[in-house]
């Protein structure tokens, strides 16, 4: 009954993801091979620059998960991103060795996860929902910005590391794994490959998750909370788990960010930066894990090109294009393109569309 193809990919496929065909997996493999070869043909600068966009992509993916799949619009992904970045800086600089840097990674991700858990617990178990979640997470972000910007004094020194207030925290080491003597340090192309690997692993892991039992529950919560509660699910718990997981992913992204620039400052909590993940995911398609990542890389590249031109119109152009996308393509670019091109070939429609259903029960089980 099950083909080798289904054994290999079946668990990654389902109605909750776009791309459930051999063509998709073949395309993805080719795209990954090209992406992996990219640093070999471009300069270290271009590779490093692209790595930055890709680590933003991970942040976008964390929002796709909580917003696109569980219906929880979090403006606070940058809070977890920032917490992890700062924690990574504090721990790695304090410990001051390669082993210290290695240990700082899980600690930072853990801190972000715990912060997400606490914030999620107090929102969801306080029965906060819908647009109020968005506004509370936004307020938390703004509060963090205000707070971190005024940590310039000596009293805000943790161990040997001053938080630095508005000026931020310099001297954060590159990402490294290992102990003295046997360590791999990541920068330039190797950093690019690291980010690419993390991105792919996260993507596949999330496909597994959203097409698994918990994924069904998550999507059901997004579609109809009351309904799914009457099937015996504790929706608060479902949301909390997704939110916490999303916080951890955003945290991982924050670690990569802090080590990419060897620096972090309170602007990661600014309204402008907090809105970016929402923008990426909206443009890319919130119900598509890959869409957000692709949109992130494209948008950030485009914004950077505009900045390089030095044109005064740069942000006007960005704002206008964003407005057009939101108004014209409510579902996001990737699901739209998918629907217009391969959607009917695949014979499986996306959530909320009106095309005939087809046989795919085999791959769902």
């Amino acid at each position: 009954m099950t083909s080798p193809y289904e054994r290999l990919f079946g668990r990654f496929e389902g109605p909750n993801t776009i791309g459930n065909t051999r063509v998709f997996w073949a395309g993805l493999t080719v795209a990954l091979a090209l992406a992996a070869a990219y640093p070999l043909v471009v300069s270290a600068y271009t590779a490093g620059n692209t790595a930055l966009f890709m680590l933003y992509g991970l942040l976008a993916m964390s929002l796709s998960l909580v917003w696109g799949y569980a219906g929880v619009l979090s403006f606070g992904q940058v809070v977890f991103f920032g917490f992890a970045g700062y924690t990574f800086g504090i721990v790695s600089i304090n410990l001051g060795s390669t082993l210290g840097v290695t240990m700082a990674i899980p600690v930072a991700v853990l801190v972000a996860t715990v912060v997400a858990f606490l914030l999620g617990y107090f929102m969801f178990y306080g029965d906060v929902s819908g647009v109020f979640v968005a506004i509370i997470t936004l307020v938390v972000t703004l509060v963090m910005q205000t707070f971190m910007a005024q940590t310039a004094g000596d009293e805000w020194t943790i161990g040997e590391v001053p938080l630095g207030g508005f000026n931020g925290m310099p001297g954060i080491p590159n990402l490294a794994v290992g102990t003295e003597g046997a360590a791999v340090s990541f920068s330039g192309a190797s950093f690019y490959w690291l980010v690419l690997t993390i991105l792919v692993v996260s993507y596949l892991g999330l496909r597994l998750l959203v097409n698994g039992r918990f994924g069904y529950a998550m999507v059901a919560v997004r579609e109809d909370e009351d309904r799914v509660e009457m099937l015996g699910y504790d929706i608060r718990r479902v949301k909390l788990v997704v939110f916490t997981l999303g916080g951890g992913l955003a945290g991982l992204s924050g670690v990569l960010y802090a080590s990419w620039g060897n620096y972090i400052d309170p602007s990661v909590y600014s309204l402008a930066f907090a809105t970016l993940p929402v923008v990426w995911v909206t443009v890319g398609g919130r119900e598509s894990l890959l869409g957000g990542v692709l949109a992130t890389v494209a948008i950030e590249w485009f914004r950077q090109q505009l900045a390089i031109t030095g044109s005064a119109w740069a942000t006007v152009v960005v704002g206008t294009l964003l407005l057009i996308v939101v108004l014209a393509l409510p579902e996001g670019i990737v699901p739209f393109v998918h629907r217009k091109t391969v959607g009917f070939v695949e014979g499986r429609r996306m959530v909320g569309e009106d095309t005939p259903a087809a046989d795919r029960e085999g791959t769902a089980e």
């Binding site: 619009l73 029965d127 906060v128 647009v131 968005a134 936004l138 707070f147």
Partner: protein
């Protein structure tokens, strides 16, 4: 003794700032469920309208309505062209208004440069002992109260207000009962815009007129909306009063830094222990009292 007067003035000052920063945002959010991330830019447009009129020679009292009018017109145009398409997608409306804010700030910079020369603060000061306080800043608290009262009358005592609230509660039923829900949304958005514009107009003399000026209202505005809770006008009043008192008290005793931290800290406490916000808590108490009396 004199410190009490200081504290009172500072409280009135904080109260006015929080209420005026929040009111436009609160009405649009509370009545329509739209989070206007361009709120700061709406305020900026009000300030620019006022300052440009003043610099062109108009007296301040005439310049303020110019700023309000400019913002209202802009709000109505944006509602008609953008926001109305997103009523059933509140989260996308955040992205859209954010995009609008981005473009508005930079367009303002392109057209009017990096700053405008500003209006001096009118009315001089109140002297008491060794202290003095800006008369205009104190006056703003009465304006804040007047705005709250006017909004209360509009939304609870007028035909429009009743229809608007019916629309908000249940648009389908309201439209079945003959309410032009489209128009209700437009007018409500217009009122919210006008109030944001008024805030910009009123604070124009006290601030630096730069394209990014709106952002300095955002923290107070969003914190007030969140802590105020679902009942917009009551919530904004309570948030302005409560947070204003905390801010004034701690600023007065420990400095502005502690004042800001205290405000944020209290806001977090309110969110934690009063999930329905200040207005939700007050209404809960009122209901309980009514029940016990009957």
């Amino acid at each position: 003794m004199v410190n009490v007067v200081n504290l009172l003035f500072q409280f009135l000052d904080s109260f006015a700032f929080i209420v005026l920063a929040a009111i436009g945002l609160a009405i649009i959010f509370g009545m329509m469920g739209v989070i206007n991330l361009a709120h700061g830019e709406f305020i900026m447009v009000g300030a620019y309208g006022t300052t440009l009129a003043y610099n062109a020679g108009a007296p301040l009292l005439l310049s303020i309505p110019v700023g309000v009018l400019a913002t209202t017109v802009m709000g109505l145009v944006l509602e008609r062209s953008v926001v109305r398409r997103l009523y059933d997608r509140p989260l996308d409306s955040m992205v859209a208004t954010f995009a609008l804010g981005l473009a508005l700030t930079q367009l303002t910079r392109i057209v009017f440069g990096n700053s405008l020369s500003s209006i001096g603060i009118p009315l001089g000061s109140v002297q008491y002992g060794q202290f003095s306080y800006s008369m205009y800043r104190v006056l703003l608290s009465s304006v804040a109260l007047a705005v709250l009262a006017a909004a209360y009358v509009v939304f609870t005592r007028t035909e429009f207000g009743i229809r608007a609230r019916a629309t908000i509660q249940d648009a389908d039923t309201a439209s079945a009962m003959g309410v032009e829900t489209d128009r209700m949304y437009t007018v409500t958005f217009g009122i919210g815009s006008a109030l944001a514009g008024l805030t910009g107009a009123l604070y124009a003399p006290t601030m630096s007129i730069v394209p990014g000026m709106g952002s300095s209202f955002l923290v107070e505005a969003f914190v007030a909306v969140v802590t105020g809770g679902a009942s917009v006008l009551l919530g904004t009043t309570l948030a302005g009063g409560g947070l204003g008192l905390v801010n004034a008290l701690f600023s007065n005793v420990y400095g502005t830094f502690i004042g800001q931290i205290a405000l944020l800290f209290v806001a977090v406490l309110i969110l934690r222990f009063l999930p329905n916000g200040l207005s939700g808590a007050v209404e809960g108490v009122r209901e309980r009292m009514e029940r016990e009396n009957t």
